[in-house]
């Protein structure tokens, strides 16, 4: 059973997170402050950490740094603030993704799922990433859309590769620019145009992208689509009710 550690000082938030995660087959450990959270993270074998940034005893980013100093357990950050610079900073510090409060449980489950899968893939060495109708073989560099091979330029592939290794998770603009252009010569204008070109090749309708979605002011995310890693635990794409 996948173990998730929830570090949040708000009891009500912890309660609904517990309910939501347990409903989807996770087991939940709760921590109401940074000290308890860090202790639980080191003591118990935890698969995923949900970390609220606003903790009474320690800055959330500090907790994140401490966790990252000894472990690469997937961490998803919760925050009530929506400052883009802060999001980028947290991602740089090693957060796998962030979710801004208020959020629906399915959004968090989708992020958790993606983070867990990425972690699993790094141990499994499974070379194929799937995102909806798209499949990317990271070893043979073959990209197929609904089974048909898609021809990409070197930079388009580099972009898709950067997104595919983090499928379902946000990748910052800077990270993508570095991966594609090697830290120099690239800029956000190039990236935007490159994304537009890639979308024209892989999206059904490039003007209404479904696969490569933009995270305002932060980066891009390759949506992983429907399949999950375990039955009964899958990330839905939205919180729309009465589906």
């Amino acid at each position: 059973m996948t173990k998730v550690l929830v570090i949040d000082d708000e009891a009500q938030i912890r309660r609904f997170l517990r309910a939501g995660f347990e409903l989807h087959g996770f087991s939940v450990i709760e921590a109401e402050n940074a000290a308890a959270g860090l202790k639980a993270a080191t003591m118990g074998a935890v698969d995923l950490i949900i970390l609220d940034l606003n903790l009474p005893d320690l800055e959330g980013s500090e907790v994140l740094e401490r966790i990252r100093s000894w472990s690469n357990i997937p961490v998803i950050v919760l925050s009530i603030h929506t400052d883009e610079h802060e999001k980028v900073r947290l991602l740089r510090l090693g957060a796998d993704d962030y979710v801004v409060k208020p959020f629906g449980i399915s959004e968090l489950l989708a992020r958790s799922d993606a983070a867990l899968r990425r972690h699993l893939r790094s141990t499994n060495r499974d070379p194929v990433v799937r995102a909806g109708p798209l499949s990317i073989d990271l070893v043979s560099r073959v990209v197929t859309l609904d089974g048909k091979r898609v021809q990409l330029t070197r930079k388009e592939y580099a972009l898709l590769h950067g997104l595919a290794t983090h499928v379902g998770l946000v990748v910052t603009h800077q990270q993508l620019i570095r991966e594609i252009w090697g830290g120099h010569a690239g800029n956000i204008q190039y990236l935007r145009i490159l994304v537009r070109k890639l979308r024209q090749k892989i999206e059904t309708d490039a003007t209404q992208p479904r696969l490569i979605v933009s995270e305002s002011g932060v980066g891009y995310r390759l949506e992983q689509g429907e399949p999950g890693i375990a039955p009964g635990r899958r990330g839905a794409s939205s919180d729309t009710f009465c589906a």
């Binding site: 939501g20 409060k101 002011g217």
Partner: protein, 540 residues
């Protein structure tokens, strides 16, 4: 008044005042003459020395030169004494000079008799001129001193007014006034306000508790007279007086007069009081009180606003996050999901909590805009992504409508704050959904026109009258949507137009008339539209 005094404990203060005043006075009687003599000994001695010097010089001059320079030479000590030490020493020099001339130079020598009547006339004339001259010289000196003092005061006032300009808080201002008074009075002055909170007190720690206590009593009683107190611990005298309400609203000033070694405390107190009156007048002219009040209000408003923004963010939005999150979990529990009634209830809670959160966010945005203005963080963005994000943001609110997208393929990139433009477009979408019937079409269009990128939202709703079109974008404008039961504070559109304006764009409304729908457009400037060149640069 007396009952007030009793109630406020002024009687105690009066007792303290009398005893300490007496003590000071008794000490004063013994030292007064000594003080006067001590203060005058130097000028007197110096005057005699000058006259002696003149006499010696005359003896020497007479030995070499046979001219009669007696009255001329004796005029010099008079002028010097009068300019240096005032009228008294001047006149003293005149008489001493006259006596010396008579004794040493007018025959018969070495006696105060004068043989020649001409010499008597000379001497009387000398005395007359010397007295007049010493008066004139002394006055000249006083004016020079006054001028110097005035110059210094103006310099201090200038420094003070510059200090005022840089004061951010009422507390800073109180300190500035205190410094100014200390400089002007040449004694350390401390302002004591009635309020006990630290913000209103100048420098409470500098005043001994006893003095402070008396000052507070004085304020409470509203006594107008000043009182001189002696701090029992250090033995230093303090002058405590109410300060003019034009300066500190309602407070007192305590001036530390020292240990009474020099001048008697009473004399100092009198001088300090007259200086204080003068300084008060100056401060009145500078409208210090208004400045302090305004600064205090501004400071408190700022604190309050920050507290409000921070408090709302956390204290209101966190519970809402719990409610919305719990709803999303409830909706996934089979027992709820499969029961129509429960599902509808959960959906109602979800919807209402969502609107509440939205309103709070609007309020926060409006507060931030009012307080600090909008500071956009510009980033090159694809307008397609802006549309996508805005639609996703309002997904639930648009669920009942048919959304059509008409997006031109090669729209240039825009250099904007993505988040702000998305919120603005989201607001237009929300309004379109709110003011048009469910099931109707909402058309989103993105195109490039006259060097601008235009994002427009067209609905089939109630439309706008010419009057409403004019009012659009005011802070709390609401369309007739209110009549059809749509809710909202009306802040949304104002925020949207502010956000767009901050990005160098503009918001436009078009309506062919009532019930013919509305088209709202965002017009964003494109800085450079050389997309093809960029594409070229990207080719492998």
């Amino acid at each position: 008044m007396s009952s007030l005094l009793e109630r406020r404990g002024l009687r105690d203060l009066a007792v303290v005042q009398v005893t300490s005043g007496d003590e000071i006075k008794r000490g004063g009687h013994q030292t007064r003459w000594l003080n006067v003599v001590a203060a005058n000994a130097m000028p007197t001695g110096a005057t005699f020395a000058l006259v002696w010097l003149a006499t010696v010089s005359l003896v020497v001059i007479n030995y070499f030169v046979p001219f009669n320079l007696v009255s001329l030479i004796y005029m010099l000590p008079v002028v010097v004494a009068a300019t240096q030490w005032g009228v008294g020493p001047g006149i003293l020099a005149a008489f001493a000079g006259a006596a010396a001339a008579d004794f040493f130079f007018y025959p018969p020598l070495y006696s105060f008799w004068i043989r020649d009547p001409q010499n008597v006339v000379d001497l009387v004339l000398f005395l007359l001129i010397a007295v007049v001259t010493s008066n004139l010289a002394a006055r000249l000196k006083n004016e020079a001193v006054a001028l110097r003092r005035r110059e210094k005061e103006i310099g201090e006032l200038h420094a003070f007014s510059q200090g005022l300009a840089t004061c951010l808080t009422g507390r800073d201002l109180i300190f500035a006034v205190q410094d100014y008074l200390s400089n002007t009075l040449r004694y350390r002055a401390v302002l004591i306000a009635t309020e006990q909170d630290d913000h209103a007190v100048g420098d409470a720690a500098a005043v001994p508790p006893e003095i402070r206590q008396e000052a507070v009593k004085l304020i409470a009683a509203g006594a107008s007279a000043a009182s001189t107190l002696r701090d029992p611990r250090s033995g230093r005298a303090w002058l405590v007086r109410l300060i003019a309400p034009e300066i500190l609203g309602y407070g007192a000033i305590a001036v530390e007069l020292g240990d009474g070694a020099g001048e008697p405390a009473e004399v100092m107190a009198r001088r300090v009081e007259s200086l204080l009156d003068e300084a008060t007048l100056t401060l009145k002219h500078l409208k210090t009180k208004e400045a302090i009040e305004q600064a205090t209000i501004n400071y408190q408003t700022e604190i309050l606003r920050d507290a409000l923004v921070g408090g709302i963010s956390h204290e209101l939005r966190t519970p809402l996050a719990s409610i919305l999150g719990s709803c999303s979990v409830l909706n996934r529990i089979p027992a709820v999901r499969d029961d129509r009634q429960s599902r509808e209830l959960v959906e109602a809670i979800n919807e209402q909590a969502g609107s509440l959160d939205n309103e709070i966010r609007n309020l926060l945005n409006a507060t931030r805009i009012s307080a600090k203005g909008v500071r956009p963080q510009l980033l090159w963005t694809d307008p397609t992504d802006i549309v996508g994000a805005a639609v996703k943001q309002k997904e639930r609110k648009l669920a009942a409508h048919r959304i059509t997208l008409e997006i031109a393929r090669e729209v240039p990139l825009v250099h904007v704050d993505t988040v702000l433009v998305e919120q603005a477009l989201g607001q237009l979408l929300e309004n379109a959904a709110k003011y048009s019937p469910p099931g109707s079409e909402i058309k989103i269009n993105s195109r490039c026109e006259d060097g601008c990128v235009i994002l427009s939202v067209q609905d089939q709703g109630v439309g706008l009258t010419a009057d409403e079109k004019g009012q659009l974008g005011r802070r709390s404008f609401r369309g007739r949507g209110r009549a059809v039961g749509a809710s909202g504070s009306g802040l949304g559109l104002w925020i949207a137009s502010t956000f767009i304006a901050a990005n160098g764009g503009s918001l436009h409304a078009e309506s062919r008339g009532l019930d013919l729908g509305t088209t709202m457009s965002l017009r964003l400037p494109t800085v450079s539209a050389d997309t093809p060149a960029l594409v070229g640069a990207l080719d492998d």
